[in-house]
Amino acid sequence: MKPFQTLLSLCLLIILISCQKESFQTKIEYPVLPETSYSYKPNWGGMHSHMVGQDLGITDAGATLGRVLFYDKILSINNTVSCGSCHLQSIGFSDQVRLSDGIDNQKTDRNAPPISNLYDDNLLFWDGRATSLDDLVLQPVRNHKEMGMENMDFLVAKIKAAPYYEELFSKAYSSNEVTSDRVADAMTQFVKSMIGCDSEMDRQQIAGQSLSPQAEAGRNIFFGKGNCYNCHSGPDFNDRGGFFFFDPIIPPNGGGFGWAQDIADIGLDKEYTDVGMGVFDAALVGVFKIPSLRNVALTAPYMHDGRFATLEDVINHYDSGINKSPNLDNVFRSWDTGDAIRLGLAEEEKSAIVAFLHTLTDENYMNDLRFSDPFIR
């Protein structure tokens, strides 16, 4: 019986070791905030936006609270992911990987879009499933892959347990009561305040000066031969331009959701790998939101699935790689045959467009302390 006893003893030992409880010491990491709150008054620079001078509903205390919430990892179920984990300030609040890491090393379904100048957007996320920032800000928090905090009561309980929030809520709302609506509101204020329009292109426009010869040539192609402006117009280069007169007759999006929306099927695939806005309307399968081009030189990889690593790859797609997908936007169809267009850009023309896109980078935005992570000392 000796071997039997030995084995039994070994089993009991394993059970004993595995049942040992380790002690847990709570250690709170506090945000470092300035004595006097930063001013979150929008810095419009030379931007020609219809919102310039209007009240965006931002208070300094509200945006400060929103900033802390944006970067606080306790908003995720296991305290490992914050909004700032996938929206890095140094690269225009985008992520450098095709698909970001959510909780438990789960990959997100789409590329994290950059954040800037969202103050008046009414079509958010790649598939436009949010129509306002209030609607947007808690969706990644709730998402089971991104931050996993599906129970809003739990979110409130965790925020109440973090001692630094009492004062922040008191300052922002004149009472320290924590609610998920207030969390959403504060984060909305912060994200609304994230405006960057001090790029080389903005400065030259204010001064009435030209860009470098190559960038100027790129701008001419962008607004001319390249037809890029058809989808990338307006102060943030994400508005439809040029088709308004004919929109009711030849809707750029192929109809369905409505015409002249800032959305498009750009012919990435002949057969769709992602339905995009098709979840809302069958006529919009393969259609995605048109992204802003602000800071685009920093926000690689590109497209909803991060398939293009460089701006050159993107331009090559529009030059000669557009597929004739079922819902291909009319902008990309030849008017007579309906086939996907080919731009036939020369290499120097492509380089010129890239040079122009580089002028849309606002370096100050990347270094603006108002938008920086308060938990990094």
Binding site: P3, L7, T26, K27, E29, I77, N78, N79, T80, A157
Partner: protein, 217 residues
């Protein structure tokens, strides 16, 4: 599945044919303790699936006609990951036990060979804990799994010495299983929850994937 059945049938036929050609003189002891030499063999027989479905240790009491055998496999793993630049650390603990109980009748017995057939009951339990310690809270994501099954088994032994034998076994097991994903929050126990529960059943051929080296006493 078909490949497994073919392997098992071929193996069984070869062993049975070989056993029948032996003499009938028999010497055996009532108890035996076996240790699996199967990790390498498992890869050879079943390279695409490294899950070990056979016990690591077996203990058997054998009478003149019937035997009762208990087998078990304990498993314990621990990995620790520190996340650079953050307070977070992540520890993965896996603890699992699986075992079986077989009641068999001796259907062939010779000097060197013993073949038994009977019924086998199997069971397993495992717990995988991913503990994330952020300082603010300790969160345990726990995957608990149970399974239980029953089915016919056939067992082959070759005695190289009256006290030492080599053997293997094959079975067809119908089993039911249940898996739960739980979240446990050290500082927020009110929000502990079971996120996901999966139940299922399966019929599986457990091919002779290991050889037991047994000591008889």
């Amino acid at each position: 599945m078909v490949r497994r059945i073919l392997y098992t049938a071929l193996f069984t036929t070869l062993l049975a044919f070989n056993a029948w050609s032996q003499s009938n003189d028999t010497t055996y002891y009532h108890w035996n303790l076996g240790i699996s030499a199967g990790d390498i063999l498992h890869e050879l027989f079943n390279g695409e699936n490294l899950n070990k479905s056979y016990p690591a240790f077996v203990l058997e009491y054998s009478g003149q006609q019937y035997s009762v055998q208990a087998g078990f496999r304990p498993d314990f793993n621990k990995t620790n990951t520190a996340h650079d630049g953050f307070l977070d650390s992540e520890v993965t603990d896996v603890l699992s036990f699986s075992g079986n109980l077989a009641i068999t009748r001796h259907i062939f017995n010779s000097k060197n060979w013993l073949i038994k057939a009977g019924v086998q009951f199997t069971g397993g339990w495992s717990k995988e804990d991913i503990t994330e310690d952020s300082g603010f809270d300790r969160v345990i994501t726990r995957r608990l799994q149970w399974n239980a099954g029953v089915g016919p088994v056939i067992d082959f032994r070759y005695f190289v010495h009256p006290r030492i034998s080599l053997g293997t076994e094959a079975s067809l097991i119908y089993s039911v299983s249940r898996s739960e994903l739980q979240q446990i929050f050290t500082n927020f126990p009110d929000f502990n929850n079971t996120k996901d529960t999966v139940e299922g059943d399966s019929l599986e051929v457990i091919e002779p994937a290991t050889i037991y080296l047994r000591f008889h006493f």
